[in-house]
Amino acid sequence: MTVQSARHRAADPVTESMVLVEHVSRTYGSGDAAVHAVRDVSLSIAPGELVVLVGRSGSGKTTLLNVVGGLDKPDEGRVVVDGREVSSLDERGLVALRRDVVSFVFQTFGLVPVLSAAENVGVPLRLRKVPPRARDERVALLLDLVGLTDHADQRPGELSGGQQQRVAIARALANSPRLLVADEPTGQLDSATGVAIMGLLRAVVEHERTTALVATHDPVMMALADRVVRLQDGVLVEE
């Protein structure tokens, strides 16, 4: 299991980068009430790289993640993920991007409460219409990877926060995404669980050869990252 850092690679940034953010700005509202969430941010993430995005609350981390993940559109600049210009994709392209390329880990886990852990993990595979047998095998593998084989049939309400986040990570990895976007994945967990989750995230990223962009305050995660990027008032201040 090898993580190849693209930190020093250059050449064609579009073809060489998994994520390329160029002069992206995003403003909410207008006039006096306008909030400049992200201003002229440029960033490149190489394939297989785990980049941690840090900054205080309101610094624009989530906005940047949303823009990168295709959940929001920048007002200016462009975002390229896996060679696709996200900012110009239509709804169908965005759906395909989220289904095949990017996956998300939410701060509040984002599990479907009426589905079991295994069923939650299987959702992305169903979206790709993976045959049941292959789906079951993949789900079992991922649950094993996150250490929840014995909890496969339990529903989110019957799992602890850490277990739920593990399920969320397993689900995020289910369709072997090229890019994993995680927003405060340990935000609702105690520190010990948070450390475990961070470790897991690092391990599965390496295992699945996935690029990851993680917003966090957690210093443990920062330590595990290939690179740490800091945002302040919507501006990239440190890399």
Binding site: E91, F104, L115, V123
Partner: protein, 1095 residues
């Protein structure tokens, strides 16, 4: 507690859409129930007024009749008026007085018979008489007598001329009144209007019993002799007050009071009018009772469907309450965690519910008035006369207020449940709590048990209306609504089965959309159950309402059709049978028209060859069964043609044809008795011709008696004529009756040597004379003549001779015994048909039971004094025109043959029945009535009255309202459910979008979920509705008087309407789901998909 209003205000703003929907549903439901209240109150008050207005004078007038006798007529009149005024009470009435004198004998001179006459002052004289000569009298006395107008027939009979003074003497009252003839007049039809006349408008009766003779003597009776109106020219013998109450403007309370007083009117008036014999003659009490019973039945029907509407409305509100609770779950948890107590939370919900109830209470009565106005503008209700300004009666306000409170109170239901902790609440979201499931099962079981008991009671009683009394049992009335609810609850139990299948499908499926649908249904069963229950109830209500609507209408129509018995029925006949026949023949549109015998007869099981009748009184229907298919109406398995096959004689009667346009029949009659009874004894032979016209009217036309020589005295033919009515058409002579009379005391001759009286009679030169007197010879040889001697009992008393036709005519010989001639008359009856061996009959089970008879038994019935034997060929459950009770049906031709051969003069023409197209029925009835034949009833009109009349139309109106309301409420409820389902799941749905699910696929999943729930609900609803229509429908379909309907109810399935109702509901619900889902998904996704924005 000041936080409560503030919180309430904030929450109202935050949940404005959902609350608006809740208020709208509450207002709509309260409005609809208010409309039902208006149908019951305003419609219920108005309907009797309209019904009474349309019932006709015959059903609503009150007659008070006093025979004054020797009493002071002024005192009697005053007492009658006072008594009538007391009876009427506050009800206004137009009162007319009919005055007629006692019977008077007119002294025409020594040795001349004295005809009976009477003077009269009648209010109808100006409209219903035609002056023939002279001037109407204007004074009470002209110095020589009372000026009178006499019937022109009486003037012609007695040669009275204008100016003649007639001397009269009293019969029961000793008085002599000279009258002067100043005019002659003719009484005009309809004769029904003359019913208060002593001779009922007949003008003449030939054998009226002379008053005071106790039937010992009879006289020619003529009248009325019309006096100057309002002059007091008549010394009253009979006083009659005819009151026409203004029932249209009488209030229900006034009508109730009038009905109460009518029940004791006879005794009250008898006591109030001194010394005179006083009778109260009215059908108003029965009319009011009938209206009250019909109205009670209609009210029961409206309440039955109103309760169903209430069930649907409560279900929608329960669904809304649950959705509100789901929407507010987080808020409730927060409030609880911040220290809000359970009573405080309930108080908050109660405050909100009160607000909703207040809004609904204010709006619903006003809206209900609008709906009522709109509904009663629909042609059927407008024609029923229910389109009035409903105002705002107390019942409307009460209904709307109670309904609003009840419906808004439903919103409290979720908050009454004590909340568990936030954690427990989350756990409950994950897996359904077993305790709660058990509790729900218990409630479901209780609903099913109560519904089962109610249905069982309803089945036991057979109807929610108790014993035709108009009262009803609340449990029985609520039974259909309870069964509906139970059906909905049971349908919810199907969900787990479907969910189980869904889980299997989900496991095996590659995709997400279908499994997502299955998971949502199987793992959030309460939400799914709510939607299924709503659809089930709505479809069930629609199915039941439309099924019952069709069943009810069909049953009412069938009951009315059977009650009438034919397309056009003419009763209370006026004029002679041949006159009636000529008049109906002139009416266009009557394809088949036939006289019918419908009367009470004595019937018993025949006990010998010549039995007498000692049995029961039953109703006999004698119709031309050859036209049974055309004439008889009323549903019968196999039809009336098949049922009556075999009742008619094998071949029709063939007589001597008489051409159309014949105004008289002429003939010569020759008769002689070859025995010599000695000097001073004379004999008379009288003949009657029995003629039959094309419509089957069969009458005996009497010819004057001719002297009959005895012994060797020579006989001479006597020329005779008899008139036929104009317009009768072709007729046939089918029989001749000959009667031998020897006046004087024959008993003194009984010891004579001569007992046999050989008697010969011949009818010759029989011809038809047209209006110009031009003769057309009739060929007597066309008839197959046979002679009988009357009833078998008398057969030994007369020996039949020969019957033949030759060039001289029809000859009949026979030898009566002197004894029978002495006792009354000897008679020979010659007919052109054979005596039927026996008359065949169909009978009702009631008659069989009452006579303890069985099929093939022989009955004896008395028809106008003639005993006829009938064989019971079979039984039918009822007869046309006779839906209930003991009755028998015979072929009229067959019965008439049996009576004619015994010399009966029965015409068996009590009514006329006709086949007429539905479209022509009204005009034909009017034409028959205008022709003065009698009172008409049409099947079409009766059926229309039964279904769309003012007393009944509220039921179909209520059924349509409940159908449309159920569809509308269900669509609103489903839209509400889908809205809240998407809103409460919006974060979940947004996350699924983040995982790569498209908006379209998620929308498809939700639509599919509701489609599946809709299919389950629709299937269950159709099942429950069909069950209700099949089981309950017949029980709540009763006769207008609340009795079991005859014929029995046949459940109808109006498939196109049912399809339309289900289709409209499905389409409306799906449209609502698609629109709300897509809109909400589009609106919600953008914001919620942004990470970090979880709220």
């Amino acid at each position: 507690m000041t936080w409560m209003p503030r919180l309430l205000a904030h929450r109202t703003r935050a949940h404005s859409t959902l609350l608006l929907a809740v208020v709208a549903v509450t207002v709509v439901a309260a409005t609809l129930l208010g409309t039902f209240a208006l149908l019951l109150s305003v419609g219920g008050d108005r309907a009797p007024q309209v019904a009474l207005d349309r019932a006709g004078a015959q059903a609503t007038t009150i007659d008070v009749r006093s025979t004054v006798g020797n009493n002071d007529h002024e005192k009697v009149a005053a007492a009658m008026e006072a008594g009538l005024a007391e009876l009427l009470g506050p009800v206004d009435a137009e009162v007319r007085t009919w005055t007629s004198s006692p019977w008077l004998l007119v002294d025409r001179g020594p040795g001349l018979p004295k005809p009976l006459v009477y003077l009269a002052d009648y209010p109808i004289v100006p409209e219903l008489t035609a002056l023939e000569s002279g001037q109407w009298p204007t004074t009470a006395w002209d110095g020589e007598g009372v000026p009178v107008a006499v019937p022109v027939a009486a003037a012609e009979e007695y040669g009275w001329e204008l100016g003649d003074v007639l001397r009269t003497e009293g019969t029961d009252v000793a008085s002599e009144i000279p009258v002067r003839v100043v005019a002659t007049y003719r009484a005009e039809p309809p004769r029904g209007q003359w019913s208060r006349d002593l001779l009922e408008g007949r003008v003449h009766l030939s054998d009226y019993p002379v008053p005071g003779s106790f039937g010992g003597s009879v006289a020619e009776a003529w009248g009325p002799l019309v006096v100057a109106p309002g002059t007091g020219a008549v010394i009253p013998g009979t006083l009659r007050l005819e009151a026409w109450p203004d029932l249209d403007s009488a209030t229900p309370a006034e009508l109730d009071g009038l009905r109460e007083r009518l029940s004791t009117a006879q005794t009250d008036l008898y006591a109030a009018v001194p010394a005179a014999t006083t009778d109260v003659l009215t059908s108003l009490d029965r009319t009011l009772d009938s209206i009250a019973a019909s109205l009670a039945v209609t009210r029961v029907g409206v309440v039955v469907v109103g309760l169903m509407l209430l069930v649907v409305a409560v279900t929608v509100l329960l669904l809304a309450a649950r959705l509100l609770a789901e929407r507010r779950a987080a808020e409730q948890t927060l409030l609880t965690s911040r220290g809000a107590s359970h009573p405080q939370l309930v108080g908050l919900a109660a405050l909100e519910a009160l607000g909703v109830a207040a809004l609904a209470t204010l709006a619903a009565p006003w809206l209900a008035g609008l709906v009522y106005r709109g509904v009663t503008r629909v042609p059927v209700l407008h024609d029923a006369g229910l389109a009035v300004d409903p105002g705002a009666p107390a019942l409307l306000w009460l209904t709307c207020a109670v309904a609003s409170l009840l419906l808004a109170g439903v919103l409290l239901a979720p908050s009454l449940r004590r909340r568990v902790s936030a954690v427990d609440s989350e756990q409950q979201e994950v897996r359904q709590d077993r305790k709660q499931a058990l509790a729900r099962s218990g409630v479901d079981l209780a609903v099913v048990v109560v519904a089962g008991v109610a249905l069982w009671q309803l089945l036991r009683h057979g109807s929610p209306v108790l014993d035709g009394s108009g009262g009803f049992d609340p449990l029985l009335v609520a039974a259909p609504a309870l069964v509906l609810l139970a059906g909905g609850v049971l349908a919810g139990r199907v969900l787990p089965l479907v969910a189980g299948v869904g889980e299997v499908v989900a496991r095996r499926s590659r995709a997400l959309v279908a499994p997502l649908t299955a998971w949502e249904i199987s793992r959030r069963p309460r939400r799914a159950a709510g939607a299924v229950l709503l659809v089930t109830l709505a479809v069930a209500v629609g199915t039941f309402a439309q099924g019952w609507h069709d069943t009810w209408r069909t049953s009412q129509r069938e009951q009315a059709e059977l009650e009438v018995g034919t397309d056009l029925r003419v009763t209370d006949l006026d004029g002679s049978v041949l006159d009636q026949s000529a008049r109906v023949a002139a009416v266009d549109g009557l394809s088949v028209v036939s006289p019918v015998g419908m009367r009470q007869v004595q019937a018993g099981v025949a006990t010998g060859p010549a039995p007498s009748v000692s049995g029961i009184t039953t109703t006999m229907l004698a119709v031309d069964t050859r036209h049974a298919g055309d004439l008889l109406r009323g549903r019968l398995d196999g039809g009336w043609s098949a049922a009556t096959a075999g009742l008619a004689p094998a071949s029709p009667v063939t007589g001597v044809p008489v051409p159309a346009g014949t105004s008289e029949l002429g003939l010569t009659l020759t008769a002689r008795v070859t025995a010599d009874l000695g000097p001073g004894v004379s004999a008379l032979t009288s003949a009657s011709l029995v003629v039959q016209d094309a419509r089957g009217a069969r009458v005996s036309l009497d010819l004057p008696p001719v002297p009959t020589p005895l012994g060797d005295a020579p006989d001479e033919p006597t020329e005779l004529t008899v008139p036929l009515p104009e317009g009768l058409g072709a007729v046939q002579v089918i029989g001749v009756s000959l009667r031998l009379t020897i006046p004087g005391d024959l008993w003194g001759m009984l010891d004579a040597q001569v007992w046999d009286l050989p008697w010969e009679a011949a009818l010759g030169d029989v011809r038809a004379l047209d209006a110009d007197g031009e003769p057309t010879p009739l060929d007597l040889g066309r008839g197959q003549w046979r002679t009988s001697g009357g009833v078998p009992l008398y057969d030994p008393w007369i020996r039949l001779g020969s019957t033949w036709v030759d060039d001289d005519g029809l000859h009949v010989t026979g030898t009566p015994n002197l004894g029978i001639v002495a006792d009354n008359q000897a008679a020979l009856f010659t007919t052109s048909f054979d005596r039927e061996p026996i008359v065949h009959a169909l009978v009702t089970p009631d008659l069989l039971a009452q006579l303890s008879a069985t099929e093939d038994d022989v009955l004896a019935i008395d028809v106008d004094g003639t005993v006829v034997q009938l064989r019971i060929d079979g039984q039918v459950p009822y007869l046309p025109g006779l839906p209930r009770g003991a009755a028998l049906l015979v072929d009229r031709d067959s019965l008439l043959r049996a009576t004619l051969v015994t010399g009966s003069r029965a015409t068996l023409t009590d009514e006329w029945w006709a086949l007429v197209d539905d479209d022509d029925a009204r005009d034909a009835a009017a034409a028959v009535q205008a022709a003065g034949v009698g009172r008409t009833t049409t099947r079409v009109e009766a059926a229309a009255q039964a279904t769309d009349g003012p007393l009944h139309v509220a039921i179909p109106a209520a059924l349509w309202i409940v159908t449309l309301s159920a569809v509308a409420l269900a669509v609103a409820g489903i839209a509400l459910s889908a809205t809240v389902a998407v809103r409460t799941r919006r974060l979940e749905l947004a996350r699924l979008q983040a995982l790569g699910a498209s908006q379209g696929s998620l929308a498809r999943s939700i639509v599919g979920e509701y489609l599946l729930l809709g299919v389950i609900g629709t299937a269950a609803g159709i099942g429950v509705g069909a069950l209700l229509a099949w089981v309950v429908g017949p029980l709540v379909t009763v006769s207008p008087r609340g009795l079991a309907p005859v014929p029995a109810v046949v459940v109808q399935w109006p498939w196109p309407v049912l399809g339309s109702v289900v289709g409209a509901l499905a389409l409306g619900a799906m449209l609502a789901v698609v629109v709300t889902t897509r809109a909400l998904l589009r609106r919600a996704s953008g914001a919620l998909l942004r990470l970090g924005d979880e709220g």
